[in-house]
């Protein structure tokens, strides 16, 4: 029996998450274009709305109004399912993310595990997209995405484990509250923090690790055949995924909503956009890494270092 309060809370949470996802996508795309513009002697969008802020809305309307083209030989159910599978998990992943001590859709004991598990589904969406549209470039892009997943997921998890040891909890809220007692975990875990940063760039398929959509090699990679709204769903998924990954990074390493003077949610957003800015900075200054170089980088450098980091943390904690 669901009580009325729970029902209202659930509906409000859904509304809240939808608003966060939508506004974030509109803002981050604009922000990215501004950042890119200023790095390239340009201004970025200026025309639509104040400082071009509504440019993304205009682009979104254009994408919605476009015809969706289904390739003749595409596997239609998979073709349609793929962008949805990409988007829905990152949507749900926002549920356990706390924006302040009280601003949280739903408190989960295993919030961190849920987010990690949902993050894996993104790759499934990419794989389906590459497979379903019967295009060799898309298939190559999808196979790259699948090949890299283990190379970054294991180091990523090995960076999160010390945090769980330090905080003794899988709950994202608890992890922040523990940091309130001590200090930001980035100070205890500088190596883990750096590896996590690299890993989330990989996780969100961002340059310099954007092999799955490597434009100059694979035309548009896994979403080569997608157009209109279905393409923009992938886009939305990518930017929401960046938001989730940055939010987790802020919670795990930079103390989430903790900070002086300003209210919690503001600090949280500042930290999230700091990470988003870092990702944009990477994207607009680095060339793309070759896929085999990334794999050997993941397996031969990231994995041993993160494993060592985990063992040392565990050893020190056991000794204390």
């Amino acid at each position: 029996m669901i009580s009325e309060i729970t029902l209202i809370r659930t509906l409000l949470s859904i509304l809240g998450i939808t608003v966060v996802v939508g506004v974030n996508a509109i803002f981050v795309v604009w922000f990215e274009r501004k950042v890119a513009g200023h790095m390239q002697y340009r201004l970025g969008p200026t025309e639509v709305g104040p400082a071009g802020l509504l440019q993304t809305v205009a682009d979104g309307l254009k994408l919605v109004s476009k015809q969706i083209i289904f390739p003749q030989s595409a596997d239609k159910p998979i073709f349609i399912l793929a962008p949805i599978i990409c988007l829905v998990p990152v949507f749900i992943a926002l549920v356990p993310v706390p924006f302040s001590a009280t601003w949280q859709a739903h408190e989960l004991d295993v919030g961190l595990l849920l987010v990690i598990a949902l993050g894996l589904l993104n790759t499934l969406g990419i794989l389906l997209a590459g497979w379903g549209c019967d295009n060799k470039y898309a298939l190559l892009g999808a196979s790259r995405a699948v090949a890299q997943i283990l190379a970054y997921k294991i180091p990523l998890l090995l960076c999160i484990l010390p945090i769980i040891l330090l905080s003794g909890s899988f709950s994202l809220r608890e992890i922040v509250l523990v940091q309130e007692q001590s200090t930001w975990f980035a100070l205890y875990q500088p190596v883990g923090f750096l590896i996590y940063l690299i890993a989330i760039t990989l996780e969100t398929n961002r340059s310099p690790f954007d092999f799955a959509e490597a434009e100059s090699e694979l035309v548009a990679g896994f979403h080569t055949e997608y157009s209109g709204m279905m393409f923009s769903l992938f886009f939305l998924a990518e930017y929401t995924y960046m938001l989730v990954a940055s939010a987790i990074a802020a919670i795990l390493f930079l103390g989430g909503w903790l900070g002086p003077f300003l209210p919690g949610p503001v600090w949280m957003l500042l930290k999230i956009y700091f990470f988003l800015f870092l990702m944009m900075w990477f994207r607009w200054t680095f060339p793309r890494v070759r896929v085999d170089q990334m794999l050997s980088f993941g397996w031969k450098i990231l994995l041993p270092i993160s494993l060592l980091n985990f063992l040392i943390t565990a050893g020190v904690m056991a000794a204390l």
Partner: protein
């Protein structure tokens, strides 16, 4: 399967030897080929087994067109082959006709020719720099290069009247004289470019990802270079100091002091460094020209209707991509009897099949980018 194939083959059926083989059709519309080049890749996963370039999507029968035009009417077509170094083509055609007819060119005109050609070379190399980094997945250097190139195009526009497809040289001279403003602005561009070049190196050359993507990738051994008829930075990146401006000097190049940049490595990095060093050398050349440009006429007296005496001639120039040679036969009329272009991109593309074999797709596109191909020049 691994033997080199001389003619492009259209084996669109996957061979039965391995189940995992497949054919990947790269181009003619593909962001990595910079034009309508099509490459049929026979692949095993990400690895390339064979790569067959297919040409002709932009074929306009330039040589046949030249047989139906007067000698002067052919000149505008020169800009339509290698659209990035139109002035080098201008140079080759006017020098060829001057050679056949025995026209003397006033020294000021020669200086203006070399000045504008070298500016054109810088703009071509800047565009290559941006496009190559785009091939490697970096966007920002492209726009940084275009920022500088924009100034260059503005500069050339003031004197030649166009921004890309210049038709500026004339038989026995040039189309317009340079004035003090142009010379001053050129000097300003030199200073700006000199200030920006270290930034390019800082942004790109020292980047660890860039090094991993270009060092030891697409190595051309010096042994291969002559067999494939390579020229230009592709050849000089493999340790061969061959430059037409030095080996068969024309115009005022003997009077200018410049080095021929050479790299021994033969990889993409080598070709990259050669091109950036060439920008620097061109800047030095322009410096000398600005200091020494003589006064005088810009146009020699030539007849209205050009009728070269019966006979044949050829003229080679160094374009930003390598050695361009134009061969023409005259039967004494106002229309060329036969024109033949030997273009650098075509020869440089010919080694691509060999270099791409056994490489990853990403590397093959880096190699393709490092060859600096201009497709309309290949197809012409």
């Amino acid at each position: 399967m691994f033997e080199s194939q001389i003619a492009p083959t259209y084996h669109l059926e996957p061979s039965e030897e391995q189940e995992s083989d497949f054919i990947l059709n790269l181009g003619p519309q593909h962001p990595g080929t910079h034009g309508v080049l099509r490459v049929i890749l026979h692949m095993d996963g990400e690895y390339i087994l064979t790569a067959d370039p297919v040409l002709g999507y932009g074929h306009r029968m330039q040589e046949k067109i030249a047989e139906n035009m007067t000698w002067a009417q052919v000149l505008p077509y020169m800009a339509r082959m290698d659209y990035l170094s139109a002035l080098s083509y201008n140079q080759a055609w006017v020098c060829l006709v001057e050679k056949m007819c025995g026209y003397e060119v006033p020294p000021r005109a020669e200086y203006i020719r070399v000045l504008t050609t070298e500016l054109n070379r810088i703009s071509s190399h800047l565009l290559w720099f941006g496009a190559f980094l785009l091939d490697l997945g970096a966007f920002t250097p492209f726009l940084h290069a275009f920022e500088d190139r924009e100034k260059l195009l503005d500069l050339l526009e003031t004197i030649t009247g166009s921004r890309l497809t210049y038709c500026f040289f004339r038989f026995g001279g040039v189309g317009a004289d340079v004035d003090a403003t142009f010379l001053r602005e050129t000097q300003e561009f030199l200073d700006q470019m000199r200030a920006h070049l270290p930034g390019y190196h800082e942004l790109v050359t020292g980047n660890v990802i860039f090094e991993h993507r270009t060092k030891n990738v697409g190595v051309i051994l010096p042994f291969d270079t002559s067999g494939y008829g390579l020229s230009g930075p592709v050849l000089r990146g493999s340790g061969e100091a061959y430059d037409v401006r030095v080996k068969e000097p024309y115009s005022i190049y003997p009077e200018l002091k410049f080095n021929v940049p050479v790299e021994q490595t033969g990889d993409c990095m080598g070709r990259y460094l050669v091109r950036l060093a060439e920008i620097d050398e061109s800047l030095n050349m322009i410096d000398q020209i600005l200091a020494n440009i003589p006064d005088g006429d810009i146009q020699a007296k030539v007849p209205k209707i050009i009728k070269p005496p019966e006979g044949e001639a050829s003229m080679a120039v160094e374009t930003p991509r390598g050695e361009l040679m134009i061969y023409a036969v005259s039967d004494g009329t106002k229309i060329p009897y036969r024109v033949k272009y030997r273009v650098p991109s075509f020869a440089n593309l010919s080694i691509f099949s060999k270099m791409a074999r056994g490489q990853l797709l990403a590397d093959a596109l880096a190699i393709l980018g490092s060859l600096d191909l201009v497709i309309p020049e290949i197809d012409r």
